[in-house]
């Protein structure tokens, strides 16, 4: 058994040396043996001498790289939702869990709101249906894409700026407060020591949002409040119910306002799930106690309606009509994953 294990480790070592980017896995023994040949004139023979082999064990290096796939300076419109895509790569040589945090920097003009981090689901780009995460576990050389999603408040003016800092920090005890070269005794994989490399104690990417346009008359922000399966809990599988929320922020008087939302493919609208509140309740589940239920019918006096034949997969519409002044609305409906 031991021999097989050692052979496997040696094989891994050979692979690592051919692919120069791969870090040698934690726990790998590195052995060295020298040999010498020499001629002994007095007994007229060539002799061979072999040294004892020296060996040491590779310890865990904690390292991470964070790449901002978008930009570190983004021009934004007040009231918009901004998505920044990051690739996070475990550049160490052991399995590692990293904490993900985003903080608003102090001293800038405004703070972004509704900050969330999502794990890419493999579908190209950010859809809003991805899973929210606050930590990520990566094997050596494994990488994942995450989305940092923030809202720019409706009331910001041109010239306002906000800076956020995205931090990826090893969750190993002592790593967050450590500095480069620190040794975390016994904290490596398999009881090895962990050594903090350049980016282990938190890799920070700062992004500046510059407001270059004020909010439109109406700002609409759609989010997924929850995805719940009746028996399996908060998972996205066929049968799970997705609760969508649309925050409507009217910034000035506007006439003939319609809010229209076409359902994406592979979803079936949940009959009778329309709710509307006359305030900003984004992030709070709407019920008949904090909001008003609307029927699916277009024939009645309420604003909400659902038309299964509109769009490619049905359409939710709220006919808001004339708005005399600024105000917020929160709309909610549900759909089932087919």
């Amino acid at each position: 058994m031991k021999t097989i294990k050692q052979a496997a480790l040696l094989f891994a070592g050979v692979l690592a040396s051919t692919a120069t980017l791969a870090a040698t896995p934690v726990g790998t023994p590195i052995q060295n043996t020298a040999t010498a040949t020499y001629y002994s004139p007095s007994d007229a023979a060539t002799q061979l001498s072999v040294s004892d082999s020296t060996s040491f064990i590779v310890q865990e290096k904690i390292d991470v790289s964070v790449t901002n796939n978008d930009s570190t300076s983004i021009d934004v419109q007040a009231g918009s939702t901004q998505v920044i895509e990051y690739t996070i790569t475990n550049t160490g040589n052991g399995n590692e869990t990293f904490d993900l945090t985003v903080t608003n920097q102090a001293g800038d003009v405004f703070d972004v709101t509704n900050v969330k981090i999502y794990l890419d689901d493999g579908v190209d780009g950010f859809q809003g249906t991805e899973t929210e995460v606050d930590l990520i576990n990566l094997d050596p050389d494994e990488f994942e894409t995450i989305f940092v999603v923030v809202n720019i408040p409706v009331g910001q003016n041109i010239g306002d700026d906000s800076v956020i800092n995205s931090n990826v920090t090893s969750a190993t005890t002592g790593a967050a407060s450590g500095s480069v070269g620190d040794i975390l005794s016994g904290q490596g994989d398999g009881g090895t020591d962990a050594v903090l490399a350049a980016n282990a104690g938190g890799s920070i990417d700062a992004v500046t949002f510059d407001v270059t346009a004020t909010a439109g008359l109406v700002v609409v922000t759609k989010t997924v409040l929850s995805t719940v399966h009746p028996t399996l809990g908060a998972v996205k599988v066929p049968g799970s119910v997705v609760t969508y929320q649309i925050l409507v922020e009217v910034t000035d008087a506007v006439n003939g306002l319609n809010i229209v939302d076409n359902l994406p493919a592979n979803l079936t609208y949940v009959d009778g799930s329309l709710l509307i509140a006359n305030s900003d309740l984004a992030g709070v589940e709407l019920t008949t106690s904090n909001a008003v239920a609307n029927t699916d019918s277009a024939a009645d006096s309420d604003a909400g309606r659902y038309d299964p034949n509109a769009g490619t997969n049905g359409r939710v519409t709220f006919v808001m009509g004339d708005q005399a002044a600024a105000g917020d609305f929160t709309i909610q409906f549900q759909a089932t994953i087919d």
Partner: protein, 153 residues
């Protein structure tokens, strides 16, 4: 019976030249000096992680009673490490390298690698073996050392 025992007792002295080798590994740590320069210190190989430099020292000694000639020391570059260019040293020796698993050896400037039909100079991290050919015999009781450095992949 008595004669046989006597012969056996004499056997060790029949070895005229006997070269033994020891190899030691060190973690190479850059230590800033008071004058602002950085010196490399060779320390015990603890807490070695990928990217670290490791130094190897091979000590040879002739424990026999006669000189040993034509000493050639061979050392494969350890698995999971890459040889650091120009790091092999050894007083009174010709140092050559192999890029084909020890089948042939040449000086660093003469080593080539063929890739997709084209031949180019070999990179240090492609070396598979290091060889020291000592130019002079090593007298009985004499010893010496050769060294090289690698980086852990």
């Amino acid at each position: 019976m008595r004669t046989l025992l006597f012969t056996l007792a004499l056997l060790p002295s029949l070895v005229f030249a006997e070269v033994s080798l020891t190899t030691e590994a060190f973690k190479i740590v850059p230590v800033p000096q008071a004058d602002g320069t950085v010196m490399e210190e060779w320390q015990a190989p603890e807490k070695v992680v990928p990217g670290d430099k490791v130094g190897y020292r091979i000590t040879y000694s002739n424990n026999g009673k006669d000189a040993a000639e034509s000493i050639v020391i061979n050392n494969p570059v350890p698995d999971a490490t890459s040889y650091i260019a120009n790091s092999a040293t050894g007083a009174g020796s010709v140092i050559t390298y192999s890029v084909n698993g020890g089948q042939s050896f040449a000086k660093a400037s003469e080593l080539t690698v063929t890739e997709q039909g084209k031949t180019r100079a070999a990179k240090a991290e492609e070396y598979s073996h290091i060889r020291w050919q000592l130019t002079n015999p090593v007298e009985a009781g004499a010893s010496g050392k050769v060294e090289f450095k690698v980086r852990v992949n």
